[in-house]
């Protein structure tokens, strides 16, 4: 009897198409970068120079200390902004009175440019690390509040009635009914907050701090080493991508499992 074995492709057609698209886009971007190197008269570092700087930076132990310092600051700003933002956003979403009080402040907070927070914090609190962190937290809170308020307001009012009839209690209502409905918005808020934290921390470190990835990028700029500026940014982008893959994606998969 003839036994036939079916060959299962490693990549399905959809996935293969996505990989192809990514490879084409990446090659195109690298080619354009190299072109920019040629026409900028050497001011834009070549791919080879960035590669050398990258290898140098990842093999320097000091780089990891700088990464940790920046990462710690991001975590503090992220934790502060999400805690206050989620609590305030939930309160505003549930109460018209709270909304009436805080809405103008949040709108104002969204309109203020980020460097203004940092400059005002430096003027008021000095160049301590804490002043930069406070500035970051204040700049991030309105974004988180805005997303959470939208999520809480668009909740299913039918489930509110069900909770009232079955007397779920305030704590169970908030955790089992409201929080789970707002979960997609909360995840979006935490992701936005995390991404903005990185952008802001670089600015804060460049302006006020002697340590951290932002300070090192600024240091490389002053020494006219754009290859190291880009390599340091790339290293930290890889760290943030790892956090995304190891923390946010599994968390999202777990929290939104019921939707699949």
């Amino acid at each position: 009897m003839e036994v036939r074995t079916a060959r299962v492709p490693l990549l399905g057609p959809d996935r293969l198409r996505r990989v192809q698209a990514f490879v084409v886009a990446a090659l195109l971007a690298l080619a354009m970068w190299q072109l920019a190197t040629f026409i900028s008269d050497g001011w834009v570092p070549s791919l080879a120079e960035i590669g050398t700087a990258f290898a140098e930076d990842v093999t320097t132990p000091l780089t990891y200390q700088e990464i940790w310092i920046t990462f710690r600051r991001i975590l503090i700003a992220f934790a502060g902004a999400t805690t206050v933002g989620i609590a305030l956003g939930a309160a505003m979403g549930l109460s018209r009175r709270v909304t009436a009080f805080f809405r103008p402040i949040v709108v104002l907070g969204l309109a203020v440019p980020d460097p203004v927070y940092i400059i005002v914090a430096i003027l008021v609190l000095g160049t301590e690390e804490s002043s930069g962190l406070i500035a970051m937290i204040l700049a991030l809170i309105p974004f988180v509040v805005n997303i959470v308020v939208g999520g809480v307001r668009s909740r299913d009012r039918g489930l509110d009635e069900m909770s009232a009839v079955y007397r779920l209690g305030r704590r169970r209502y908030l955790t089992d009914v409201v929080a789970r409905q707002v979960a997609p918005a909360l995840l979006a808020a935490t992701r936005t907050c995390f991404a903005f934290s990185w952008k802001l921390v670089v600015l804060v470190e460049a302006l006020t701090q002697p340590r951290g990835i932002g300070a090192q990028i600024y240091f490389a700029f002053r020494l006219l080493r754009p290859d190291h500026m880009i390599s340091l940014a790339l290293i930290f982008i890889l760290v943030l991508r790892a956090v995304e893959a190891l923390v946010f994606t599994p968390l999202e998969r777990r929290v939104l499992a019921w939707m699949r």
């Binding site: 039918g158 069900m162 009839v165 007397r167 209690g169 169970r172």
Partner: protein, 275 residues
């Protein structure tokens, strides 16, 4: 069938008492006007009325979700809408849509309300098994609600309402979104469940045949604002057949009577009544 001119409750016949109820939205649109109603303990009462007449509003008030402008609702001698302490009457509610928590499995949905109802932890699993078994959905205990059919979700919703051993189960057109065959099956199962449990049920519907098939008594409401137009006692033995000719005959009699108050005549007559 027996008609009652006035309602004169005796004994356990006034387990639920609705008196002089008036409900308005925005103080302008009156949904319910001077409505009286009594339901006996263990009785299956249907509230029948045309779409939009205020039936669901009545259930909302009975569940304490809406405060009336005037009048009161007592269940088991205690007012609805008072402090939600341990003594307050416990309500099971089967909504038109299932209103299950989609991020909780079927078992977890029941567990959530059982915990809130103060059911001792050691009894919770047994209760979940019993009521899912009664509704023939025990195999879906660990399934997400969104993976169930409409009929299965409504069964879970009924199991949830019964499992907390409520003082009364309120049902707001629970089968109106289901296909006819599933709805008939569900009505049959509900009638059986009620006979086994003797649970007090107030069932809102706009289907005359559904009301006749399920209920002991039917409160027929006027087109909004809702008032009691008539109270009908269904004197048919159980189990009843949905295609029973006697139901068809009774249905015809009720249609003849409500035609004037539900039909176009009621709309034309509305200004005179209000004036």
């Amino acid at each position: 069938m027996m008609r009652e001119g006035t309602v004169t409750p005796v004994g356990t016949h006034d387990y639920i008492r609705v008196e002089g109820l008036r409900v308005s939205y925005d103080r302008e649109n009156t949904a319910i006007e001077d409505l009286d109603m009594v339901v006996g303990k263990g009785e299956f009462v249907a509230v029948l009325g045309p779409s939009g007449c205020g039936k669901s509003t009545l259930l909302h008030v009975m569940a304490g979700l809406l405060r009336p402008e005037a009048g009161r609702v007592d269940i088991g001698g205690r007012p609805v809408g008072g402090p939600a302490d341990g003594e307050a009457p416990r309500i099971g509610y089967v909504f038109q849509d299932h209103r299950l928590l989609p991020w909780r499995t079927v078992g977890q949905n029941l567990r959530t309300v059982l915990r809130s109802a103060g059911v001792p932890a050691e009894q919770i699993e047994e209760r979940i098994d019993r009521y899912l078994g009664m509704l023939h959905i025990e195999r879906f205990r660990n399934t997400w609600p969104m993976r169930l059919s409409g009929g299965q979700r409504q069964r879970v919703s009924i199991a949830r309402a019964l499992a907390i051993h409520p003082a009364v189960v309120l049902m707001d057109e629970p089968f109106s979104t289901l296909d006819e065959v599933t709805a008939r099956l569900m009505r049959q199962q509900l009638a059986q469940l009620w006979e086994e449990s003797s649970q007090t049920i107030v069932f809102v519907t706009h289907s005359i045949r559904e009301a006749l098939f399920l209920a002991d008594r039917i409160y027929i409401l006027t087109r909004g604002p809702a008032r009691v137009f008539d109270v009908v006692t269904v004197m048919l033995d159980r189990p009843r057949g949905y295609e029973d000719l006697r139901l068809t005959e009774l249905e015809g009699q009720i249609v003849d009577r409500v035609m004037e108050v539900w039909g176009y005549g009621a709309v034309d007559a509305a200004p005179d009544r209000e004036g």
